[in-house]
Amino acid sequence: MMMDDARLFAALAQCFGPVDQSEWERTTSDDEWQALIARLRMLLQQPDAFGAVEAPLLRAHRAVPLQEFLSSREVDALFAPPSFAEKQSFAARHFTGGLPESALPIESLYVEWTNDPKRSPFARQKGLYSADTALYMRDLIADLGLELPESLAAYPDHLSLELDMVSVLLEAGRTDDARQLFLERSAWLTAYRLKLVALGEEALFYLALIDVLLGVRAQLEADEGCELESA
């Protein structure tokens, strides 16, 4: 079964956000998950396949691209997504705010609140909710005629919404916009991964996903560089 990138990013969004049990079980069913991993493999090798609607000819040069971006323990974790109960338990301890082991996947917490001092007395401070990135995502979602889901309305730059927005743009055929959004909205993941690293073993699944996303990002950036050079 082939998975397109719109579905891929929607599924990745689910990994970090609040979903119900049946959704999670559907997303992580064997077929779906194998398809997701296959698609990730492809993106790690063929950045020009990003958003391609037709299944491109696989030009896989390497058999094990995941290992180039993930530790072997992360690869194992990626192949064994958590059960719904495990996902809930992880979220109860780490996707909640104010604890030493909080690791909320919200971009605002990793970037400057704003770089315009006229717009806030707390400009340039990091570690505050509702940063400019959140206001930007909120505006973008509204401009595209979309609605913030209630459960994440307070966090428009939650990773789930950022990934889901990539998915929506891809599904709407706006591949370039999707690519630009992904590149812009994934830079903070380097800082976020350190939070997950600090959590150790139990965060390996999420760490693996972040490392894959950073891998895709690196490939897309490299691909953009090539295009610029050849232009």
Binding site: P121, G127, L148, S167
Partner: protein
Amino acid sequence: MTETTITRRSFLAASAGVAAVAATSGFVGFSAWEAEQAHAAGEKKAVHSLCNSCSSKCGFTAYVGEDGRFTEMVGDPDHPYCDGTLCARGYGYASIAWSEDRLTDPLKKNDQGKFEAISWDQALSEIAEKTNAIIASDGPQSLIMIQDPRPSGSFYTKRFMNALGSANVYTHGVSCNMSKNSGMTQAIGAADFTADVANANMIMFLGRSYADGIRPSSLHQLRDAKANGVHIVIVDPRQNASCLYADEWVPIKPGTDLALILAMAHVLIKDGKYDADYIANYTVGFEDWAQRVQEYTPEWAAEITGIPAETIERLANEMWEAAPKACIEQGWRAAFGCAHQNSGETARALCLFNTLLGCWGIEGGAYFPASASAGKLTDPKFAAPAAPAEKIIGQAEYPVSSGGMGVSTFALSTIPEGRVKGVFFYQSNCVAGYSNPAQLSEFVQAAELSVAIDVQMTETCQACQYVLPDTSYLERLEVPEFVGGKIPVVSLRDRVLEKIHPNTKPVDEIFTELANACGVGQYFQFTIDELADAQLQTIGLSLDELREKGTITFPEKALKYGLKTTWNTADKKVHFTSDACVAAGFPASPGWLEPLVMPGEGQFRLVGGKQAIHTHTQTANIEPLMAITKMYGLERIWMNADVAASMGIEDGDEVEVSSDTHTGRTRVKVTQRIEPTSIYLPSHYGCSVPEQRTAYNVGLRQMDFVPFHIEPGYGGTMSQETLVTVKKVGA
């Protein structure tokens, strides 16, 4: 934002057709969006609210942009405490609303002692079940509530506890101004008065520093006093920041202010320098005190206080010459709010000394602010539960303590013996600040039920089983706040920001839902908006009107100066003697009472005190304020320069500070601005909660060095009754 919330498969796609996305023209990248924002003018909405960074609750107007943020906060000129100016804490503390360290979900401690998010339904039902089980087995008096009073918090916590049948509602008083208020009440039937600083001829401050424990209007008074040529004397072990405005700093050994007052009274009474008419007509028991102070000569006091006898004599005479436009300022926490074994008696003596001066109610003397309040609510939906017949736990054991504040530390100490079984905290970091933290934490952890409600993890939350996430003060409406002053006002804390975390709740909702879950919801059948409006309607105002104005003054109730001749005591007189004090084991009129501990060779008394940019431990986690601490090394202890030289300690050295209860390391500021027997440790630091990323592990915590003990009779925490040694690390 828990996993219990059910959402769609795709978070965004299902909310509008993808076709619509395909059809919209613009996709704006982040840089383009940023550029647009820089040029967007946008309307700004003015919202009135009250600061929450300290208990002054200054009124301000926030200007909120279309992006939901505010760019400006302006102090309200009519608010009696802010007088048009906010302090640095007021501005900096606003960032708490967006802080990464905010609690976002209800939490419950799991078997490994770690917190996990749970749903509100689970939290409320489990807490209610345990509460009702405790009531069934031990009665409602085995439940206690400790809260740091704020407008809605005071209303809802009391109503909730009374609805359950418990009288046990406590404030933070034991570690603040409890002894002062209680001692004053024994003398004058009032817990406080206000020195008319700007209009006086002479003012003496005992430990209190308007420029450190800031209330803007008080600082303005001090500034005006200096401009008006008022003779300002500051008596303090430390040359505090207010000394910039003073004529004289009089260093004193900590815990000996009572000796100074007694000796000054001795000087005046001996020479017949007191307002004999006032004393004859409006007081009782003067002879007893006159007799008692005969032995307290300036020479006697000089030995105890470290202040030369001539200085004591001179100050007493200067006060008399300046009278009646003179008084000893009322103090708050610093020297005798809760600091020593003799704090309550110091406050009592202070009022009696002022009585000698005949200054009560006089312009330039000591006045009692005019007040206003809401009327009684008659609509049955606001009917309050009956007040429990029992007294608050601790009242019998500390008979001259203020019942309105309560000896919370004593109540907590009864947990191990099973007298108290359940404890609630609302916006109170009791464990870190009310007495020895290790001991308090142990008490709380021994409770069958412990619940803390706060915006961020604190030492108190850490000790509890359940933590409920409060909204920040910027995200909620509260009941109207009536504030006394020369012109009393009513002011409002309104919602400045939309709720940031959807799973947090404001205090009114939390207690309403807890009450419903506990089966006493009949006392909470109204919204905060309805309650606030109903209270205002009793005085001919409305919530809309107060929202519009923020602060409304009552000029018709303005203070009128004039000699105060009736008092809120049984016989309407000032009491030089107190039967209640005798029953509590004190002399009828205040005499010398030594501090609990006196430093021996190589020992120092540890004194605390605020810095202008922090409020106790509440603001240490605020990054812009902590940045100032770090820039100036404000977390350092202070040591007298001569003493330091004799010990081979230099400015900036790392030192080890030890008491019977704790040892810790920090750096030292070597200065002549502190008398030789004291070490000053600012009261804001030493946070032990890793969740407070900014405050964690910066400096030392004063209360770690203080043993768990309680001031006899008055109930204060005796925050300065501890001795420390200091040694240079590596020496």
